[in-house]
């Protein structure tokens, strides 16, 4: 094998320029493959992150709706039997009860979830509809009472603040962080006070400690954040009053099943991230398929390049093949020599391609990319995952092996008698 390898290397060196052209073909395609996948996935992570980072894997809440089974219906069904004639009720347009969107037993639910090994974090929320009074105009908004430290840690709350420090929100009372759009409409800046009116008519003054920008303008026009205590005070509710419990899991994929389980167990509504954001997954998948397809096409093109060059080389080397065979190298030996030759091209080109790919990724990573959507992003996103490098090398070796195999087999079948006599 060592001998075959040294023969392959000598043949390669004799045709150095062609070999380099073939290796550069592989290098180019590997470079593009790695760069494309790294860039695409960086972008995917960025776009997914815009929603997924901030979205709980499971959200438990209590939807305000009419009871699906009205008492009259229950009574009627209970009385249906063989001794009673069939009956029908004509009650229509049933309205929900004047009930609060409170999540009952929220503290007990959180206790149970805290002990669940699948759960990474549990944090309560209190969401309320309010009006901001800006002069004579009332702006409708949704105030989210959050557990600030949990939100910073698990939902990257801090990443979306353009002004202010999220920890100020945890520390103070009567403080608020406004969405960018909302702050602009009220011409409010950090440090100023804004007046809030709840749906039931109570008024409070809150101090603005920060501005956040989610990247979705409509969302930023109607959302604001404060700590849970402030909202409880606004609404004049006790300390155990929550409307949502957000759950973050260790494994995102378990969310749909677990949402169903929690919904049945606690008698609350539960929505999982996949259901709430199905379109993002689809988008990521499609982008992934496109980048893999382009990358593989590049490799196949490089593979044809190697195939051509090896084929030409074999025609030029017919004499050498005949001599090798005449002096005792078998057909499989000859095949191995040419296969090795192809693999050396693939390996060298692949290695150079990985370095080139890394370089190109670094280059893209340094190009400024300012987006209103993401205040913390300053350059184009790149996913430097080792996975893409491994896939690229495996594909490079696979395509060069296949591209080398056919010419190598042809070389192994060269009849030395024909070559030697034909001269």
């Amino acid at each position: 094998m060592k001998l075959l390898f040294s023969i392959a290397v000598t043949l390669l060196r004799a045709k150095l320029r062609q070999s380099i052209v073939a290796a550069v073909g592989v290098m180019f395609s590997i470079t593009m493959f790695v760069t494309l996948l790294g860039f695409m996935n960086g972008l995917n992570d960025l776009l997914d992150g815009m929603i997924l980072n901030r979205t709980p894997h499971i959200r438990l809440y209590n939807e305000l709706q009419a009871s699906p089974r009205q008492p009259v219906q229950v009574a009627w069904e209970a009385h249906q039997g063989k001794d009673r004639p069939a009956a029908h009720h004509f009650i229509r347009s049933v309205k929900p009860k004047d009930d609060l969107p409170r999540l009952r037993n929220a503290e007990a639910i959180m206790d149970v979830l805290d002990r669940d090994p699948r759960v990474m974090a549990v944090s309560p929320r209190l969401v309320a509809q309010v009006f901001f009074n800006a002069g004579t105009v009332d702006l409708n908004a949704q105030v989210n009472g959050i557990d600030v430290n949990d939100e910073i840690r698990y939902y990257r709350f801090g990443d979306y603040l353009t002004e202010g420090d999220p920890h100020d929100l945890a520390a103070g009372n009567n403080v608020i962080i406004l969405g960018k759009g909302l702050a602009d409409m009220m011409a409010a800046t950090v440090g100023e006070a804004v007046q809030v009116t709840t749906a039931s008519g109570e008024r409070s003054i809150l101090r603005v400690v920060g501005i956040f920008q989610s990247g979705i303008a409509d969302y930023d026009k109607v959302q604001c954040y404060t700590n849970i205590k402030t909202v409880q005070k606004l609404l004049a509710r006790p300390g155990s009053y929550y409307t949502d419990v957000n759950v973050k899991l260790h494994d995102l994929e378990q969310a749909p099943a677990m949402a169903r389980e929690l919904s049945a167990r606690f008698g609350v509504d539960a929505v999982d991230i996949q259901t709430a954001n199905a379109q993002f997954e689809t988008g990521s998948d499609v982008r992934n398929i496109i980048s893999y397809a382009v990358g593989i096409v590049l490799l196949i093109v490089a593979g044809f390049g190697i195939y051509n060059i090896l084929n030409m080389m074999i025609y030029e080397k017919l004499d050498a093949i005949a001599i090798l065979k005449a002096t005792g190298f078998s057909g499989p030996d000859v095949q191995r020599i040419f296969l090795l030759l192809s693999m050396i091209i693939g390996l060298l080109g692949g290695a150079a391609g990985l370095i080139g790919g890394f370089g190109l990724q670094r280059l893209i990573d340094s190009i400024p990319f300012e987006t209103a959507a993401l205040p913390t992003i300053t350059t184009y996103p790149i996913d430097y995952s080792l996975k893409y490098y491994i896939i690229a090398v495996v594909f490079a070796l696979l395509t060069t092996w296949i591209a080398g195999w056919f010419p190598a087999r042809k070389a192994s079948r060269v009849d030395p008698v024909e070559i030697i006599r034909g001269k």
Binding site: L11, T327, F329, I420
Partner: protein, 235 residues
């Protein structure tokens, strides 16, 4: 190892080409070569002598009959087996020198030895240099094969044929492409190999002088062995 007294035994070899019409090239060719014998095969163009040589070399397997090399019947053996026999027991010298131009002279001589793998690289290299020295080519060892003249190339090819101490050396018009002087040198080398190394030689040639000076001559016509001479006498 099986010590057969015969280096080569050719038994009723028949061969026909079928394209475009069936032509019987070899008809019941039988002869044998003793160890250390220097044989030549002569005949007109198209008499089948080259075809015979390639059958004997195990490179052409499409024939009837049997070729026994050192007591081993080669008929029906798989290709890699035949390649191993060629490597170990047969040395080749062609009309056109057929060195590998990408390799140095020394590498060319060493390749079959390295392939055989009985000796270390250093030993094979020492052998190769010894062979080149015998042929007065030691000073050219580091040159690339394509830098040599025709006669020099042929001597390198002979050194390569000798590297594995083969039982028999086969040549297809080895002097056909050389001038008189170089042809003479090559003939003397062959003669010496047969005498000193006790190797058998089977050389196909056009050259009646060459044939006349070998130990034994086989004359072919229309695919048959029709005669020849024993000893260095004219036919």
């Amino acid at each position: 190892m099986n010590r057969s007294p015969l280096a080569l035994d050719v038994r009723k070899v028949n061969k026909a080409f079928h394209d475009p019409v069936t032509v019987q090239v070899l008809k019941d060719v039988s002869f044998s070569v003793e160890r250390g014998a220097f044989l030549s095969v002569t005949g007109k163009s198209g008499c089948g002598k080259s075809t015979l040589l390639y059958i004997l070399s195990t490179m052409d397997t499409d024939f009837e009959g049997d070729v026994v090399i050192d007591g081993i019947s080669t008929k029906g053996l798989p290709g890699d087996h035949l390649a191993a026999i060629r490597n170990e027991k047969i040395g080749f010298v062609f009309q056109f020198h057929y060195l590998l131009p990408e390799f140095s002279v020394l590498d060319n001589v060493m390749l079959p030895g390295l392939k055989l793998g009985r000796k270390s690289r250093e030993e094979v290299e020492a052998d190769a240099i010894a062979r080149l020295k015998e042929l007065d080519m030691a000073d050219q060892a580091r040159k690339m094969a394509h830098q040599l003249s025709g006669g020099q190339k042929q001597r390198v090819a002979i050194a390569r044929a000798l590297i594995n101490d083969p039982l028999i050396i086969m040549g297809d018009e080895p002097t056909g492409n050389l001038d008189k002087r170089n042809a003479e040198i090559v003939f003397d080398i062959f003669k010496r190999i047969a005498a000193e190394h006790k190797r058998s030689l089977l050389i196909v040639t056009h050259d009646p002088d060459f044939a006349a000076r070998t130990d034994r001559n086989i004359v072919m016509e229309d695919g048959r062995v029709i005669g020849g001479h024993n000893g260095s006498s004219t036919k």
